[in-house]
């Protein structure tokens, strides 16, 4: 991660209120603040800069054409999930991986994840993840960015499936506690 990656993101939720009203300037600022995040997720998941560029384009076009899809809360976490789900769709549709390896995510409009960590930034998440033992952090990152199921994580790491599931749960619980502390400080 270079210095540019830590550019402070503008408040996406506020910008989205203006985008809903058709404010092209707000949309441009939203893009300036969040395109590195969307591109970064797509690049990690698709492994191809050109495809990541196309996916970034399609995510922001969707934001512009359907601004009501985001309702409130942490815009960064929301658009990260959108980028991840679109990347999974691309992996599936282009048969870049075996279908059975690709997970499905449950999208919940207005779910808690959009509201709990509204004050969270990427640096805090990086620190919280870095505080986890490798054995917990690694399957969490593989699960989120690898575009693979827990079965596939177990196969690729040679660790029993039950152990992988428990490590993911333990890691996410610790992460939750760490992040709770971060947003309340």
């Amino acid at each position: 991660m270079g210095r540019e990656a830590r550019v402070v993101m503008e408040d996406g939720a506020r910008l989205m209120e203006r985008v809903r009203a058709g404010d092209g300037g707000a949309f441009e600022r939203l893009y300036d603040s969040y395109h590195r995040l969307v591109f970064g997720i797509a690049l990690r998941m698709l492994g191809d800069a050109t495809m990541a560029e196309d996916l970034t384009q399609s995510v922001f076009l969707k934001v512009w054409s359907s601004p009501d899809a985001f309702r409130y809360g942490n815009f960064g976490a929301w658009i990260a999930r959108v980028a991840r789900n679109r990347s999974l769709d691309v992996l599936r549709s282009r048969s870049l991986r075996d279908e059975s390896e690709i997970p499905v995510d449950l999208a919940e409009p207005g779910a808690l994840d959009d509201v709990v960590f509204t004050r969270l930034d990427s640096e805090r998440v990086r620190r919280a993840l870095a505080a986890l033992p490798d054995e917990q952090r690694s399957p969490i990152e593989m699960g989120f960015f690898g575009g693979i199921t827990h079965d596939e994580i177990a196969k690729r790491t040679g660790i029993p499936l039950g152990t992988i599931k428990t490590r993911i749960r333990t890691g996410l619980r610790k992460l939750r506690v760490e992040l709770d502390g971060a947003v309340s400080r």
Binding site: A5, G22, G76, R126, T149
Partner: protein, 256 residues
């Protein structure tokens, strides 16, 4: 299930669902369970925000040229709708101005089209390939969106749930589902068939046929408006389905 090793295993699966790393079949099982288990639902609600926050670490530097190219493409793509949105809220004079700009854009596009006609023939194959890929992506996205909508319905706190012999009938808004998990194995040449009874009707109408997976689970959306139905039922029928039920129903469930 509470307190058992089986429940602990389900809590582990719930964590993987929060991360978004379950295959479809497992996600359906977890979704059904979350609808009826407060402890697991609380675990999911606690872990999902932490899992979503993981995405924030992916921010990557984008080189200046690429960043500028991407932004130019994007702003060009939204320009027509941006003009339309502005025009929709602008006084009459601005509408004229934006119309002139739009007309100029159309003329420019037409002129460009004529000039590019030779290049077009060279690019035809590439465009066809791109178009086919775009169609596949769009189809996959539609399928996944439908699947997510279905899971959201099954998951919703405001869904009506009716316990039946082999699971649940779930109704939310105009949608109705069979969420069954203990269906007996079917004899060879047989399928399960759903039936619907419309409000005020005296006879049932045939609905979808399906076969459960190896563990007896099936989630099926009935292609009917739930608000217009008085009841639903399930029978075993010959492959291809029947026009009227030919076996004793596994259940008949009124929808109140």
């Amino acid at each position: 299930m509470n307190g058992s090793a089986e429940h602990e295993a389900m809590l582990d699966l719930v964590a993987v669902a929060a991360l978004g790393s379950l295959p479809t079949a497992d996600l359906r099982i977890v979704t059904l369970h979350l609808a009826t288990c407060a402890e697991c639902r609380a675990e999911y609600d606690a872990l999902r925000p932490a899992a979503s926050a993981v995405g924030l670490i992916a921010e990557e530097p984008v080189d200046t040229l690429r960043s500028a190219r991407m932004k130019k493409r994007l702003l060009a793509a939204i320009a027509p709708t941006a003009n339309a949105r502005r025009a929709a809220s602008a006084p009459g004079g601005l509408i004229w101005a934006s119309s002139i700009v739009a007309a100029a854009a159309v003329v420019f596009a037409l002129v460009s089209t004529v000039q590019d006609i030779h290049l077009r023939s060279d690019l035809a194959n590439a465009q066809r390939t791109t178009s086919q890929l775009q169609t596949r992506v769009a189809e996959t996205q539609r399928t996944n969106e439908n699947e997510r909508d279905m899971l959201a319905d099954l998951f919703a706190a405001n869904a009506k749930r009716y316990t039946v012999a082999d699971g649940e009938v779930v109704a939310r808004g105009s949608h109705v589902y069979f969420a069954l998990h203990t269906l007996p194995a079917l004899p060879k040449g047989k399928v399960y068939q759903a039936w619907t009874l419309a409000k005020g009707a005296k006879t049932v109408a045939p609905s979808v046929t399906f076969t459960p997976n190896a563990s007896g689970s099936a989630i099926v959306q009935l292609p009917a408006d739930a608000t217009a139905l008085a009841a639903v039922a399930l029978t075993v029928e010959p492959e291809g389905g029947s026009k009227t039920p030919t076996s004793k129903p596994s259940f008949i469930q009124p929808l109140s």
